[in-house]
Amino acid sequence: MTESSLTMSVKPNVWQGGFSPFRISWGKLMMWYFLVGDSFSFGAFLITYGALRFSYESWPLPTEVFKSFPFLENVEVPLGFVSFMTFTLIMSSVTMVLAVHYGNAERNRYKVAKWLAWTIVGGLIFLSSQAWEWTHLITHGMTMKHNPFGAPAFGWLFFTITGFHGFHVFTGVIINIIILINVLRGVYDRRGSYEMVEKVGLYWHFVDLVWVFVFMAFYLL
């Protein structure tokens, strides 16, 4: 047997080396692992929420705390505004899916840019809504120390955890803007791959997914 025939006798196997075992680039793999790590940060916060909440005998009713709507004085809309925020964020995930799709399937610079821009708009609407909600609650006396609606822990947990999530949305919007500029400048056309859009898309969906848990913790349970 010659050397080369021995080489050829190695069965093709994705774990054999010289090959990405999950058939994805290192960049996408890295994003996935980053998200795994990040979910543990959120996990730490939500476990803190759970532990503190169960040490209290009473907890504020979400429908009492979150019942205001911008520009609607004297009208009570329990959970109305947060439903709007959640809907916006989920829709921004849908637009992100479209941006990724037109990047991967058609490499269509303008369609990618269009849907990415809508995603950014969605993110900005979410952030401004959060800013309004925070301002509203703060003016009604809910702070990092006090909570007129009941257990003070509700206040500081709310601001910390929605703040941490909001910070993720904020960084997501910044990253999306950078990627949008790259798309418009044709960077990914030259590179021949819109994978970068897909990677930031993963991050954006993750931020969305985390909101579901944050939303559940503060607005539903």
Partner: protein, 613 residues
């Protein structure tokens, strides 16, 4: 191979060395982009994994020196209580008025000694150095997956180091609430002097450190998974790479939890929240901050803290396995068992954290579950120890300094591991928890033994890093003083702990019944100074050898099988001048069929028996 034919040729990515097709195959561009490098890009903001590894090593050694020095200062107080050392007052002013260190200063020293050694030396200094140096070289990659993030990883570590260093020089001094940073002691500015600005510096420093560790870890994992050279299947990876991979996975999952906890403590301290504060009186005044849970912090902390001790020890496992097999000229015994036991340790790491909390009033039933899971760790640990011993058995051993430190590691790991069985039992831990028995246990099993692994790695891979050898005679002196000295320092602590000598106490004079240990404490302090002196010898040897050591003249000075020795003596950026070599066998074919060693790049010979594992 068939894959290559099917792969559509896409246009190459211009900004990166590594390129993968959509189908997953790793392709290299026709020619590797050659960067013009100046002093700054080559030595300071370098993206070469080997240089970054050296940067981690230098910074880690700096912190090891500082951290060791801190321990000497508080050992002086323990060994010579009440005795005045005017030099201390000259150096530290009000913190050592009259030449005797104050209790506040003592706690700062202990806190920073722990923080620096655990995180800055044995995490960043150990896995930062060797993951960077060895993963691409031993996997057969030109560099890390993302050299840029890798560079950031070092510079975040550097920033963390600067913040920690500054905290020594601020008016109220560094943090003093213990490396575990429990609230309320660290959660309130009024709690102690070190809990003023020093604690904020500590938290910010640690946050930067965690970011550094995550950026590094992401790179290590993706590089090992995606960028192995052809033929380097997972069961042909050197055990160093396996160990560093598992370490990175542990860090990726546990460090974010500490980040969360650190943010919450920072809020408690500065924004008036009470995540970890409840019913606290200071000076007879009841604090407004109420409704939190201090034990919750301990859960969050130890969810990181326990995996952290394996983050420290696993790289040492890997380095030692490699060095022992190489210098015993024998295949590592039980390769697969070595990998599986590391995986088992990694999984158990996440379900044993509450054994650090038996004295918090943990429900005895819950404690019994954690006792059971904790004692399970003994199984894979023992597997590893027996495998090392079996590898040494009837080996043709070369006693290089690296090998001596590797064997010393096994000795220390056994000694320290045995006391772990004591402390894993809640019934025994409760009386022993606040005594020197615990100090003895974790210093031997984690501190000193991981340090031995690190030093062994430095001696062994020094020729690869600098193209020169370290001085072996000094290495032997270093080894014997360190091994004997470390045992002399920590062995007596077991007995002191068993009769109840409390740890974290500035002066033991207050306890009449422990005065019998005055002489012993003095002896331990003297031994600690001797050990520290030996480390200075090591640093001198290290620095001298970088510039004037004996030159390496052959590519493979240790007759080793793994890929890093197939490069140039001092490889440039990109590691291999020609194409990356293909791998045909595992890295432990030593003394096989009459051959002393068979490198991984040698194809199987006709009729050769295939795998030993």
């Amino acid at each position: 191979m068939a894959h290559e034919m099917q792969t559509a040729v896409s246009s190459p990515v211009t900004d990166h060395v590594h390129f993968q097709t959509v189908e997953g195959e790793i392709r290299e561009p026709e020619h590797i982009p050659h960067h013009k490098e100046n002093f700054v890009t080559k030595y300071i903001f370098s993206q070469d994994h080997k240089t970054i590894g050296k940067q981690f090593l230098f910074t880690g050694m700096f912190w090891a020196f500082v951290g060791g020095l801190l321990s000497l200062i508080f050992r002086l107080q323990l060994g010579y209580p009440g005795q005045s050392f005017p030099i201390l007052e000259t150096l530290f002013g009000k913190w050592a008025a009259g030449g005797i260190i104050t209790p506040e200063f003592y706690y700062k020293l202990v806190t920073m000694h722990g923080t620096l050694l655990v995180f800055f030396v044995l995490t960043a200094g150990l896995s930062g150095t060797f993951a960077n140096l060895l993963i691409p070289l031993q996997c057969g990659a030109r560099d890390m997956a993302s050299p840029f993030l890798n560079m950031l990883s070092y510079w975040f570590f550097f920033a963390a180091s600067v913040v920690m260093l500054i905290s020594f020089f601020i008016p109220d001094g560094a943090a003093d609430g213990g490396w575990t940073f429990y609230p309320p002691l660290n959660g309130l500015r009024e709690a102690s002097i070190g809990s003023r600005a020093g604690a904020d510096y500590w938290l910010i420093g640690m946050a930067l450190f965690i970011i550094s560790s995550l950026l590094g870890g992401l790179n290590y994992i993706t590089t090992v998974l995606n960028l192995r050279t052809k033929g380097m299947s997972m069961n042909r990876l050197p055990l160093t790479v396996w160990a560093l991979l598992i370490t990175a996975i542990l860090g990726l999952i546990s460090f974010p939890v500490l980040l969360g906890a650190a943010i919450l403590v920072l809020f408690d301290r500065n924004l008036g929240t009470s995540f970890f504060l409840d019913e606290i009186f200071i000076g007879g005044r009841h604090l407004d901050q109420m409704g939190g849970n201090a034990i919750l912090y301990q859960h969050l902390f130890w969810f990181l803290g326990h995996p952290e001790v394996y983050i420290i020890i696993l790289p040492a496992f890997g380095l030692v396995s490699e060095i022992i097999a190489n210098n015993a000229r024998k295949p590592i015994f039980g390769y697969r068992a070595m990998v599986l036991s590391m995986l088992a340790i990694a999984i158990l790491a996440f379900v044993v954290w509450a054994h650090h909390m038996f004295v918090t009033g943990l429900n005895p039933f819950v404690a019994s579950v954690f006792v059971f899971l904790t004692l399970l760790v003994a199984v894979p640990s023992a597997v590893k120890v027996f495998n090392w011993l079996a590898t040494l058995w009837q080996g043709n051993i070369r006693f290089t300094p690296a090998m001596l430190f590797a064997i010393g590691f096994v000795s220390l790991f056994i000694s320290g591991g045995l006391t772990g069985i004591f402390l894993g039992n809640s019934a025994l831990d409760i009386p022993l928890h606040d005594t020197y028995f615990v100090v003895a246990h974790f210093h031997i099993v984690m501190g000193v033994s991981a340090f031995f692994g690190m030093v062994a790695g430095v001696y062994h891979w020094f020729p690869k890093m600098f193209g020169r050898y370290m001085n072996h005679t000094l290495g032997y002196v270093h080894f014997w003083i360190t091994l004997v000295g470390a045992y002399l320092v920590f062995w007596p602590m077991h007995y002191m702990g068993l009769i109840g000598l409390p740890r974290r106490v500035w002066s033991l004079d207050a306890y009449q019944n422990f005065s019998m240990y005055g002489d012993m404490n003095r002896f331990m302090t003297d031994a600690a100074m001797l050990v520290f002196f030996a480390q200075i010898l090591f640093i001198l040897n290290f620095v001298y050898s970088i510039f004037w050591g004996r030159k390496v003249t052959v590519k493979n000075p240790w007759q080793s099988n793994s890929l890093e020795w197939t490069t140039e003596i001092v490889p440039g950026h990109g590691n291999w001048k020609g194409p990356i070599p293909t791998v045909y066998r595992w890295p432990y074919d030593y003394s096989k069929n009459g051959d002393d060693f068979i490198p991984q790049t040698e194809p199987y010979r006709p009729g050769e028996e295939k795998l030993h594992h």
